[in-house]
Structures are given as C-alpha cells and as structure tokens.
C-alpha cells in the first residue's frame, strides 16, 4: 500500500522531530495550546463586531478576517501548510461535543461528497458580495458565530469530523490549496504499519466506531483482541485519513492527532517539494466531486474578484435590462440578488464544470483514448493542475487587500483599546495603512497570476505526458487553451480599478 514514490528513509526532514517545536507539536495539549489563543481572538472579534464601530475599516471584526486572515492564510499554505485548521478555534466546542461522546452516527452517505463543500464555498462567496460582509462588522460577527454553532452541531450529531471534511468552506479552501504546501503527514517506516494492530492513527486510542476494524477473530469465534473505547483517549484522524496511505494533503487539518495517537511514534510531518503531489500519479481520488471542487474554486477566485470591479455593475445592469427585471417591479436588492446570482452560478459553477468537461472530452477525442478512459478519468487526471492557477487568483485578490491594509490592524486595535479605557498604546495613527503605491500591488498581482498559470501549465504538461505518452502534446492542448483563457480573464480582471460598492442601484 505504501507508495514507492515517497522515500522511506529517516533522513527525510520531519517537523515533528525538530528539537523544541516537534516536542511541542506532539504534546498531548499541543493543538489546544494554539486553539485557545485563536478562540480568544474569535471571541474578541465577535465582541467588537457587535459592540464596536459600525464602520468596517474601524472594527476588528472586519479588518482581521477580511484583510489579515485572508492574506496570512495564503502565505501559510504556500510556505508551511494548513496552519489555520491546525489552530482552528471552531473545533474547540466541537471537541467538547466529541469528548461528551454525544456522537454515534456517521455522516449520511449521500452527503459524503465534496458537493456539499462546493455549495458552502459558493454560499460564502455569494453572501460575501450580496450582503457586503466586508462592509459590516455585525454581519461578519454573525458569520463567526455561525461557524461555532455549525461546527458544534455537526460534531454532536455525527461520528467523524463531518463539518471539517464535508461542510466547512474555510477548511475546504485550505484543503485544496494545502496541496501545494511543503509539508505532509506520512509515516517513517511503512513496515511498522504493516504489523500495527491498533491502527490508532485513524482509529484513535478510543473511538465510537473504528474505521479500520482491528478486532481479530479468535478460534471460538469470539474476538481475541477487542478495541476498548473510552472518551479519555487520543482521537484518531477526524477526517478519516490513514497516515501510511496518505499521498495528499487533501482533507488533512494538520491536527496531528495521528502523530499523538500512533503508539509506535511512526507518524511524521515530512518536507516535500512545493506542489509535489499535484503531478504525482494517483495522489488524488478519481472523483468528480473532488475535481469539481478544485476547478470551481479556481473559477470562484475570478468571480469573487469580479464582484469588486466596475464592469460587474455594468453587467448586472445589462442583465436587469435583458430580463426586464425593473419592469417586474423588483426592488434594487431583488434585482441585485438575481443578477449577481446569475453571474455567480454561471461563472462559479456552470463555466468550470462545462469548460473542464469540454476540455476533458476534447483531450480524450484528440488522443483517441475514448475507449481506454471514460470522461471521469480524463477529467480527474487533470484536476490537480487547477490548483496553481486558482491559488494565483486568490493570492492576487487577497494579496490586494492584505498589502493595501497591511498595518491597518494597528490603529484599529489602538482604537479598540482606547474605547475600553486602555491608553497604554496611545492614540491611533489612522494614516497607517499599507502599501499605497497601486502599481506595486498591480505588479504583484500580475506576477502571482502569471506564476500560477505557468505552474498549472507545467503540471498539466507532466500529467499529459504521463497519461497520453507520445500523444502528450495533443492531450495537453485543450487544457492549455482553457488555462490561457483563465489567465487572460485574470489579467484583465486584476488590471481593472477596484470599486467596492455596497448597495447597487439599478436604472
């Protein structure tokens, strides 16, 4: 089962074996130690969101998530890994739910698909533009509260970490782009796993229902060894990943429970090349839902940024005129809902699904592999190539807000402290912003978009050569064409001036 492509030597760089940090991470309460500060931070944001300034630029609830969180998350994913999920505060009450052992059932089979994640990401991005979450501290605070409630509710009802694995839009985003991260969970010695009885990395040293059954059958039919379940042990992998088989960061929250649970100390967090898994054969399941999640997320990167440039308002007006929405007597809000909804559905769902299916179909026909591969195989093989270009789009958009508002958190924090009688940090200097030279930011945006495109082409080329051998060039063509279209859309989009409007008025 162990992939030959992963070197098994102990010479691999392993974060969990680093002198101090490794010990800290493997420590039983290691995750809790980073979750508690994050929980306090989340509570602070909710508090300021409900009680502080209604102006988004002066409230922690809007500045911290929409400016800093989104920028830092991209940096962390690219240079380290899924650090947000590791420190995720939403899972704290959830862990409580689990410890209380309320959960028994598994998540319904029909919902065990990334289709749910696609829907929740779509909903979050749509709500972000439609309700102008970026302009409202109170609404943003409600979103944070919603995360806590949903995460707890799912954990109370279901056995595995269904919220993380299937529902959470933040987690789904992080899963997709952590596939470029230079760190991945794996095992030190595969032979240890072969003889391992408990498979604690996935089962946990307690578990309501073990995923890999280990009760061996004795001579008289009664089990020889029985796994005992107590709520006191170390949980196994919440998203049901099996460390010795892992080839991808998809679904890994970097909680490190596997490393803590493994009685053989066999789990490590190993270094690997940035984006290495994207061109590794069969690293991902050949599933439509996984492929469409990755492809749609790249397109949503474009659509989400499109919602913040002037042409979107012209397009919405044109949609309104074409459909005669004004004549129907709809309010401005009603028209915006329909027009924006159409843009999102077409750009974020129909376009990615339709265009990628078309590219897969074309590649299959051109390489005459219609007999060998079905459409699903032809499509899913190339899905990983959509990660870099998508990451480029998100980095360009989130990078814009992050760079332009880099230090804005400083006066906002000072203002918050002053409001609560803490004068220690002085008067806020509101002029403190970030990078004000828009050509610098524009250059950064162009570079990341083009770099993402280049990496996507390079990945697709490797996949094409492997999948289509001498027909590789032909098989790559449809995909290269699609990436080039996306690139042009991205460059056009990010060269537009930003225009962040709230309520839209229609003629």
């Amino acid at each position: 089962m162990t992939p030959a492509s992963i070197p098994q030597a102990a010479t691999r760089f392993d974060v969990l074996r680093l002198p101090l940090i490794g010990r800290l991470l493997r420590w039983r309460w290691g995750r809790l130690a980073v979750q508690i500060p994050m929980f306090a931070l989340a509570a602070l944001l909710v508090y300021d969101g409900f009680t502080g300034s209604p102006l988004a630029s002066q409230n922690l609830a809007t500045v911290a998530p929409w400016v800093h969180y989104r920028g830092l998350i991209i940096i962390a994913l690219f240079f380290v890994g899924n650090l947000f999920c590791m420190a995720c505060p939403f899972t704290l009450p959830r862990t409580l739910g689990k410890r209380l052992s309320l959960s028994k059932r598994r998540f319904p089979r029909v919902l065990r698909s990334k289709a749910v994640a696609i829907a929740s990401l779509f909903a979050l991005f749509f709500a972000y533009e439609w309700l102008d979450l970026w302009a409202s501290p109170a609404l943003t605070a409600w979103v944070i509260v919603g995360y806590f409630v949903a995460s707890f509710a799912f954990e109370a009802f279901f056995g595995e970490s269904a919220f993380c694995k299937y529902v959470c839009p933040l987690g789904s985003f992080n899963f997709v782009y952590s596939t470029v991260s230079p760190l991945q969970i794996s095992v030190r010695d595969a032979s240890v796993c072969q003889t391992c009885v408990g498979k604690e990395c996935v089962n946990g040293s307690y578990s309501p229902q073990p995923v890999v059954l280990i009760d061996s059958i004795g001579v008289n039919g009664a089990p020889d060894i029985t796994h005992t379940h107590t709520p006191q042990g170390i949980p196994g992998c919440g998203t049901l990943l099996f460390a010795p088989q892992m080839q991808s960061n998809l679904d890994c929250t970097l909680c490190l429970d596997c490393a803590r649970a493994c009685p053989h100390g066999n789990v490590g967090l190993f270094g690997r090349g940035i984006g290495a898994e994207l061109s590794r054969p069969k690293a991902w399941p050949a599933r439509y839902d996984v492929a469409f999640l990755v492809i749609a997320l790249a397109f949503m990167g474009l659509v989400n940024a499109f919602g913040m440039v002037p042409p979107v308002y012209d397009l919405m007006q044109r949609i309104s005129d074409t459909l005669g929405l004004r004549a129907l007597g709809l309010t401005d809000m009603g028209i915006e809902t329909i027009a924006l909804g159409l843009i999102f559905v077409v750009g974020g769902l129909i376009a990615p699904i339709g265009l990628s299916l078309a590219a897969a179909g074309a590649a299959r026909a051109l390489t005459r592999t219609t007999k060998r591969d079905n459409l699903r195989v032809a499509l899913t093989t190339f899905a990983p190539a959509f990660v870099p270009i998508g990451l480029g789009f998100w980095a360009a958009h989130y990078g814009f807000h992050f760079l332009i508002g880099l230090f804005s958190i400083v006066p906002v924090t000072q203002g918050f402290l002053l409001d609560h009688g803490i004068t220690l940090f002085g008067q806020p200097n509101w002029a403190l912003g970030g990078i004000t030279d828009l050509t610098v930011i524009g250059a950064f945006q162009a570079i990341v978009v083009i770099a993402g495109y280049g990496a996507s082409l390079w990945t697709a080329q490797k996949i094409a050569l492997r999948a289509y051998k001498r027909q590789g060039f032909t098989g790559l063509l449809p995909w290269a064409l699609l990436f080039t279209l996306m690139l042009l859309a991205g460059l056009w989009l990010f060269s537009q001036p930003m225009e962040m409007r709230g309520t839209v008025l229609f003629d």
Binding site: P310, Q461, S495, M500
Partner: protein, 149 residues
C-alpha cells in the same frame, strides 16, 4: 516530446504580451481629474443649550476618483455662521483595511470651510466631518457617498 516542452514558454509569452496590452488599457486607479464635484456640508453646532446640526448635501451626482473640494458650512443654533472653527474631515471606505483619507478645511469666510479630499479609490465612502469652535463647542456630520472609478 520536444514540441510539448516548447509549448509552455510560448504560451506564457503569448499570455504575457496579451496581458501587458490589457493592463495598459486599464491602468489601475488613475488619478483622473475629477469634475467640479463639490460636496457641500452645512453644520449647525450645539453645545449645552445650543445644538449643532450638520446637514450635508452632494451637489454633483457622480464623484470620480481624484481630488475634489468639500465645502462645509458651520452655523450655530441661531443659524449664524460660526467663524474660527477647526473643521476636520475623515473619509473612510466601507471596505475594511483601507486607510482613511484625512483632511482639514480652510476657512474661506463667513462660516464656510473648504477641504480638498483625495478620493483615492472607487467605491462606497463615509465622510465624517467634525467642527470644533475655539470655545470648545463641537458638532459633526456624516455623509455616505459613492466614488466611481
């Protein structure tokens, strides 16, 4: 195998060229000269028994990215112009993370104060005007406005 390897740089180059042309067309946030967009603000100030009310009216329908004057009128409860006041303006974008544009208004006579505000990005803005008289009376007004790029 060779043609496939040359495909990548070729496509990149083509895309780059197309991209440059595109971005030359729509240079980000130009400082276009704004038309005679003038925001007039009338401030009535009250302290203790006197009340300062601030009303602001936009004279132009469309405000463009760029520097535009904002006129503020400060009057007291009797409607008399207030002279010698300090008038500070703060323009915030409704989007988090944008540094506010700060400006102070010069008195041009008879309770009329004019400030040059640099509307540096398109979008929704909230303008907050605070007037303070030497004897300590203050009044403020806010105005929501839209800037087009």
């Amino acid at each position: 195998m060779r043609p496939i390897l040359s495909l990548v740089p070729a496509l990149l180059l083509a895309a780059l060229l197309a991209g440059c042309r595109q971005s030359a067309g729509g240079t980000p946030i130009p400082t276009q000269p704004a038309p005679d967009a003038t925001i007039e603000a009338t401030a009535e100030v009250t302290l203790n028994a006197e009340s300062l009310t601030v009303t602001i009216a936009l004279t132009d329908e469309v405000l463009l990215v760029g520097v535009a004057p904002v006129t503020v009128t400060v009057t007291d409860a009797d409607g008399e112009p207030v002279t010698g006041a300090t008038v500070a303006l703060r323009a915030d974008m409704t989007h988090a993370g944008m540094a506010p544009v700060l400006a102070s208004a010069e008195e041009t006579g008879d309770g009329v104060y004019v400030a040059q505000v640099d509307w540096n990005m398109g979008g929704d803005w909230v303008l907050t005007i605070t007037a303070t008289t030497p004897d300590g009376r203050t009044g403020s007004a806010t105005l929501e406005t839209r800037v087009e790029s």
